[in-house]
Structure formats: structure tokens, C-alpha cells
Amino acid sequence: MAQVTLIEAVTMALAHEMARDPSVVVLGEDVGVNGGVFRATVGLQEKFGELRVIDTPLDETTIAGVTVGLAAQGMKPVAEAQFEGFIYPMMEQIACHAARMRNRTRGRLSVPAVWRAPWGGGIHAPEHHSEANEHLFTNIPGLRVVLPSSPSRAYGLLLAAIRDPDPVIFFEPKRIYRQYKEEVPDDGEALPLDVCFVLRDGTDVTLVTWGAQVKETLEAADALAAEGISAEVIDVATLKPLDFDTIHESVKKTGRCVIVHEAPRTAGFGAEIAARLAEQAMYDLLAPVERVTGYDTHIPLFRLEMKYLPSVERIVAAAKRTLAAS
């Protein structure tokens, strides 16, 4: 069994599925010889050839549209946006075609494609390389939006994403690409694309998060535990469709919820979770819902970026507020 980082798990899943299914192809900028700017596709072109690992011209619109075309014609393309900040030119094809093809044609054509993109801040990168913009996709019907936060979940969810018969947006939290290694068997076992993962059981407060922020959230749970506060930690993992039941069950138990994400607060995906709590869990809540998020500003260039991202300190403070409130 291999000890792998999150990004190695991505590579492993890609290689596994390409070996298993000849219709899987990878395309994007620098995914070939270079193996991707983050090395996610390293070795794939050597193994599977230039016909299945394709360096495209530098145009995200092209990548997205060709991906739709490939998928509608029997391939299973995995497209890469080099950074989440460059995904905007892909949106028309994703929103108007990938997300709609099956519905439009009453099932005649479909788009079993995956769009991968390194996501989020905290790596001291240049402008446009640190955004958390999952909100772009979560309101679009017909998509799945996935954001793994560990090597094993990256492996299992990416396999599932590739196998899924519908389009999946797969954001990879680049800050934790190489944070730690985990034993991940290359066994081809996919994880479900419609469940949240409870990473830590607790009874006093529910901390809900996704992506790289899982790190700070787990640390916050540790810090709270040191003060005798028992925090349950949930990794949403698949934002769309949302497994609200798991969150709701937890809140029924704890009565308190802190939602943590690094995207800007207003209309970030945390709002949806808070909204469902306001609709469905009002009688379970012992305290107002809290959101600990990026500010409603652009993530600053890297000198200030860590002051933008939610910190353990902010999460702990919010959790304590929910306890003080009730």
C-alpha cells in the first residue's frame, strides 16, 4: 500500500481509471510532458500516450468546449483548469452545455466529464492563483461539485467523479496538496459522491467545512477539546448535491453550528448550509449559526493572504460564541 499525498492520490486515481477505462482521456495546459504545473498528471503521457493525455492550446474556452464534445461522443474526459482563477472562460460551456446536455436532449446525449482545478489560497502564489470560487457552480443545476480534503478522499472521490455519468467539478485544495501522506490502497474503490464525511465525533458544537480549511477546523476542534469542548467536524466534500442530513443529524445532537470556508462570506456556499439550518433545524439550534469565512474582499496578494483566510483562532472564537449564546 502506498503512502501518498493528496496530489499523488489524484495522479493515482487518474492512472488507475485510465488503465481501467480506455475512454478516459486527460486534457489541459501543460498536462503532458510537464505533468501539470502541480505534477498532478505526471507520468500519464508516458504511460498512455499523446492521444490520451493532451496538451491543449492556451484557451480555457477551448478546453471546456472540447471536453463537452469529447464527452458527448463517448469519451470520458478529465479536463484541467490550471488554477481555479482561470476557470471563468469555461463557464459558458459548463453552465450552458455540460450541465444541460442530458436534460436538453431528454437523455440522448450526456456529458460524463470531470473538470479538475487546483483551488484556494495559502501557497504564496501570484494574483489569480488563490481563489476559492466554488460558488460559481453550486447554483447550477445538473452539476456535481466536489472538494476532497485528504489523500484517500481525493482518490476515492476522483474515481467516482470520473465514473459518474454526469459532469463533475472537482476542486483540489492546493494548500494541502502535499501537507501529509496517508496510506491509500490503489484498489479502484470509489467513494460516494453524495455524502458528507464526519471526521470527528463531538457533542457540543458542529463544525462544518470543506477543502483545505478542514485542517484549521480539525485543529480548532483540538483546541476546543483542550478546553473541554467537544466539537464534531464534518467535511462536506460534495457540495452539490448536498448531503444535508448528515449535517442536520449532527446539529440535532449539538444544537450549535459553525460553518467554515475560505471563499468570501456573502453568497458563499456556507450560506446554503446556514439557510437549510434556518429552514429545517430551527428548533434544534440552541444558538445562532456562525460563519467563519474569507472576508467579502478579494484574497489579497500573499503578504496579507493568511490574514484573509479563516484561522484556528477565528474558528475557536466562533465555536465559543455559539456556546456562550445558549
Partner: protein, 359 residues
């Protein structure tokens, strides 16, 4: 002076507006007069179909409809050159090509009548793309299809159509560029009908021809008289043959004219002169092929009348089938969204059904 590259854009035409040959070297396929009659018949039925569609819209039985009046040579030329295994990625008015490939008028009516089932082609190749409203996007679908053929080693070609306006969109450029870079079997046909809604060709680009856009991508590029089906068909045949044999993609500009309004929601009198339209009618593609066929004794007024009557009957049947189609149930909006309906959506589906049933 040192020259890095030189280019020529050919203009291809066989028949003048009166249907008289302007050159001698007619392509082989024109010798098969039965086939030429078949092409003509489809041009006529396309026009009958179009007239019927507009009538349906005017009487409230269709939503907005985009007419193909004047494009018959271009569209039938495209459709008739393709093989069934090829893929067509049209925009929204290329019925002539689609009817040739088996799309049924009733499907067109359903689509413009606000019913998704129009896109679920029953007789046309299942792999053909549906109508594409977001301008230009279909070009990239064709490029993707062409890439799929290349990857799988299939001898198939992807064809996309795009308007003069649409050829301004980055998607078109992206599609021809990747076709050139990857040597894909793509044929991109710019159906230049001089107008993009109210925007004339001259405001759309400073390029002398639209064909030359192909040069930017290193593709074969040719301009044809889009009202001369022989020219369109010849350029298509050549382009398809090249693409099929791995010799690369082509941009064809078919120069024609949109004789009708942009759609039934448009009133072209606001922005173009009747004189211009009248003048354009002198280049009517249907009239032109008919004149040539008549000069070959392959067609006459009697045949014309008989065929038109047949078309009318066909369209009446199609209209009836369309009008008889039962509405989709409310849950149809949920049932084709995902291969399998996610749990939270299943709940919404139940609610919608309950609401429909009066709770």
C-alpha cells in the same frame, strides 16, 4: 523584402444567379442528375417546411422560430455531403442539413414549441448535436467530436456550422485553432448570410473574407457561393475527404443571404432596406438550381407542382403529429437532469408533482 508566408483564398462558384454555368469543370457528382434532383427536392421541402413553421408561429402554435429562408443551398449542401456516421454540430437554423440527416419537422416544431423532446432525434443520427443557441459554442463540440474520432482512430468527420456573426466569437477561433494544432477532422462552415440580427457583416469584422479566418489556424480555407449548391457541395466533399484521410480541417465560407427576419421575434425592416432584400432575392438558391435542372431537362413545372404538393402533405402530417404530442408531465424537468436523481432533488420533484395534483 523577405516573405514569411503567402496565402490565397479561392472563391468557388459553378452556377450564376440564373443557373448558368460559369465554368466548365463541373464536379463528378453533378452528372448524377437523379441525385441533383434529390438535392433540389430537399431544398424545396426545406422551404415549404420553413413557410409552415412561420405560419405556425404566427398562429400562436410555436414560440420564437428562426427561419432558414435563403439558406437552402448552404444547408442542404452541407447535410448531403456528410455521412451518417459523421457528426453535425449545428447552430439553430440549419434545418436543410438536419432534414437530410433525418431530423423530423415535428422535432423542430417541438423544440421551438417549448418542448425539450424536439432534441431527442428519433431518425437522425443519435450522435448528432442538438440545436445550439449560445453562439459559437457548437464549434467546440465539433472539435471535441473530431478529437474523439482521432483518439479512437475512426474515419469520421465533425462538421459545425456558424454564422457570420458567430465567427467573431472566441469559440469559433478556439475550435479551428485546436483543429489545426491537433490536425483534427473538422469542417467548419461559416454560413455568411450578411447579418447577425441587425448587425451587418461590415460591422462584424474588418476581414475581407470570412474564409481567411481559417488562415489564423493554419486550416484550408475557401469561400464559396453559398447560393450555389454545387459549389457548397464540392467544397464540402473536398473538405470531408481531406479530413477523413487525416489531412486536416477546413474553414468554408458560404456566402448567402438571410432573406427573412432573424427570427419571428425580429423585424428586419428596422435595420435593412427592402431594396437590399429584393436584390438578394435575385440570387435565390432554389430558383438557381431549378433553372439548371430545367436546362438539363431534369425538372419541370409539373414536377415542381407535384413535389410541392407532396411537401405540403408531409408538413401537414408533421404539424398534426406535433400538435397531437401530449405535454410532458411536470416531473419531466427533473427526470433528465442527472442519470440518477440526487436525494434532495427527489424531494423537490415530489413537491412539484403534489402541487400539480392540487396537493
Amino acid at each position: 523584402m523577405s516573405i514569411a508566408a503567402t496565402f490565397e483564398i479561392e472563391y468557388l462558384q459553378y452556377l450564376d444567379p440564373e443557373g448558368k454555368p460559369v465554368r466548365k469543370d463541373f464536379p463528378e457528382f453533378t452528372r448524377d442528375l437523379d441525385h441533383m434532383v434529390e438535392l433540389y427536392k430537399l431544398m424545396v421541402s426545406t422551404r415549404v417546411f420553413d413557410t409552415k413553421s412561420i405560419a405556425l408561429q404566427r398562429t400562436g402554435k410555436l414560440g420564437t422560430y428562426a427561419s432558414c429562408l435563403g439558406h437552402e443551398a448552404a444547408h442542404v449542401g452541407i447535410g448531403s455531403a456528410m455521412r451518417r456516421e459523421d457528426v453535425l454540430a449545428p447552430s439553430y437554423r440549419e434545418y436543410g442539413a438536419q432534414l437530410y440527416r433525418g431530423v423530423q419537422p415535428r422535432e423542430v416544431y417541438l423544440y421551438w414549441g417549448g418542448d425539450e423532446r424536439g432534441n431527442d432525434f428519433q431518425n437522425a443520427p443519435k450522435h448528432d448535436f442538438a440545436w445550439s443557441v449560445p453562439i459559437g459554442t457548437q464549434c467546440l463540440h465539433a472539435a471535441g467530436a473530431a478529437l474523439a474520432f482521432k483518439i479512437r482512430g475512426e474515419q469520421r468527420v465533425a462538421v459545425c456550422t456558424i454564422g457570420d456573426g458567430g465567427s467573431s466569437k472566441g469559440d469559433f477561433y478556439g475550435a479551428i485553432n485546436i483543429a489545426g494544432a491537433q490536425n483534427l477532422p473538422l469542417v467548419a462552415v461559416i454560413v455568411n448570410n450578411q447579418w447577425a440580427i441587425s448587425v451587418p457583416r461590415r460591422i462584424q469584422t474588418g476581414a475581407k473574407t470570412l474564409a481567411q479566418k481559417g488562415l489564423a489556424a493554419g486550416l484550408f480555407a475557401i469561400q464559396v457561393d453559398g447560393n450555389d449548391i454545387i459549389a457548397v457541395r464540392k467544397a464540402m466533399d473536398d473538405a470531408l475527404a481531406r479530413a477523413r484521410s487525416g489531412q486536416g480541417g477546413t474553414v468554408i465560407e458560404a456566402v448567402t443571404y438571410r432573406l427573412g427576419d432573424h427570427t419571428t421575434a425580429d423585424d428586419a425592416r428596422r435595420y435593412r432596406s427592402e431594396a437590399e432584400v429584393k436584390e438578394a432575392w435575385t440570387r435565390d438558391p432554389v430558383k438557381r438550381l431549378r433553372a439548371w435542372l430545367e436546362s438539363k431537362k431534369a425538372w419541370d413545372a409539373k414536377k415542381e407542382e407535384a413535389w410541392k404538393a407532396e411537401c405540403e402533405a408531409w408538413m401537414d402530417e408533421e404539424v398534426n403529429a406535433y400538435l397531437k404530442t401530449r405535454a410532458q408531465p411536470v416531473e419531466a424537468m427533473f427526470d433528465y437532469l442527472y442519470a440518477e436523481l440526487p436525494a434532495d432533488l427527489a424531494q423537490q420533484r415530489e413537491q412539484a408533482i403534489a402541487l400539480e395534483r392540487g396537493h
